[in-house]
Amino acid sequence: HLYNNLYAGDKLIRLSPKNDYEVIALKHMCQQFKVDLWQPSSVSYITEGTIVDVHITRNSSQALLAYLQHTSLQYKVLISNLQNLIEKQIGVQSLRNRR
């Protein structure tokens, strides 16, 4: 596996805070769970209506999704397993190299 299968079970989720309460809850989540923000490029840019794409690791996803339920933050899973997409993105490449 590429990257030693580091991203197996990691997810990309999308949120868009609708009010100040959700903005605060989302910023708190980003800091508490040390998530990898794909967009925007910094927590400081998160405001009402911002599209926020968050890469969450397999280990933290259970606690993080529980936090989202607890705070009623709506979210959508964009990519359910990052490792699979990485393998698809350049897996062919490494196959080619091996050939």
């Binding site: 910094s42 990485i86 993105q89 490449q93």
Partner: protein
């Protein structure tokens, strides 16, 4: 040899550098290759100079890709651009006119250390790989390290943040090298184009403040025509406008620096997509993304050749 190089695939830094050597060797009438310096980890910072050597002085366009390591579609586009230029120089009158009238300085991978790291260790790494001795975190955001409103709103002073502005302006060797190169050629370079992903946007200054640039009409009309040309390929819609209002306020960006340094047309492209795949844009989408972006870049370049 890089015969049969696959432009519809992502390539490691080593493969891209081999490709650059190959293009330099096999198209010496249109391409020359040089290094503008060394990265933090000591890798060369290669630039390809593209254009017909017809007359001593020609205006130029600067194109950089890969300022942010994980945005792989950027370097893929820079390679596509060079390929298209040499492949269509004889067959496309528009491209021939552009390459006869202008030079292009193309930097396929700006953040070479970060790009290599994203291939070997962390696929989603963004920053450079410099090390601040007092902190355990690596890297600075190479698009927050330029000497324009440095480390003001939209950048972070904390070395562990993704938008860390660096120890001081141009502290990152890669930024310093590019800024020095651009400073020396500020009279020659008429456009600065920087390729990022993802969001499908065509941005122009300012990033660091909400204000209209003095030549707004010319820059805005060129941007509008560029996204119309882009959309004509596959119907993909890009939004466009000043970065501060279309995206967010950020300080120390290369685009703002280029504009303040006297380059009248400065743009940042946020290529495909809008988030379905994000940084993991599949190889099957490299071609359509690059084909449509070529139309936008040629449109901007033609605009520069005319008087606005």
């Amino acid at each position: 040899a890089v015969l049969g190089y696959n432009y519809e695939a992502y390539h490691s830094l080593e493969e891209i550098q081999s490709w650059m050597y190959y293009m330099n060797k096999t198209h010496s009438d249109l391409i020359s290759m040089f290094s503008i310096g060394k990265s933090y980890e000591g890798r060369p910072l290669y630039v390809l100079k593209l254009g017909k050597r017809i007359r001593p002085y020609k205006r130029a366009v600067w194109i950089d890709c890969g300022i942010h390591a994980r945005e792989w579609i950027g370097p893929a586009f820079c390679q596509w651009f060079v390929k298209e230029a040499v492949d269509t120089y004889h067959s496309d009158p528009g491209m021939r006119r552009i390459l006869n009238r202008l030079y292009f300085y193309v930097m396929p991978v700006f953040n070479v250390d970060g790009y290599h790291f994203s291939w070997t260790k962390d696929r989603f790494w963004r920053k450079t790989r410099s090390k601040n001795s007092r902190f355990h975190c690596y890297g600075a955001d190479a698009n927050r390290n330029w000497k324009v409103n440095w480390c003001d709103e939209g950048a972070s002073l904390h070395p562990c943040d993704d938008t860390y502005c660096g120890l001081y302006p141009e502290s990152e060797p890669e930024v310093k090298a590019a800024a020095n190169f651009l400073r020396k050629r500020k009279k020659q370079i008429k456009a600065y184009l920087s390729f990022h992903a993802y969001a499908q946007l065509l941005l122009y200054p300012y990033s660091y403040k909400y204000a209209a640039i003095p030549n707004f009409e010319c820059v805005e009309s060129a941007a509008y025509n560029a996204i119309v040309a882009l959309q004509s390929a596959y119907g993909v819609r890009y939004n466009y406008g000043p970065a501060s209002s279309i995206l967010y306020v950020s300080s120390g960006s290369s685009m703002d620096w280029a504009y303040k340094n006297g380059i009248p047309y400065a743009y940042a492209f946020e290529l495909r997509d809008t988030g379905h795949f994000g940084f993991l844009l599949p190889e099957s989408l490299i071609k359509p993304t690059c084909v449509e972006t070529m139309l936008a870049v040629k449109n901007i370049t033609m605009h520069i050749l005319k008087k606005c």
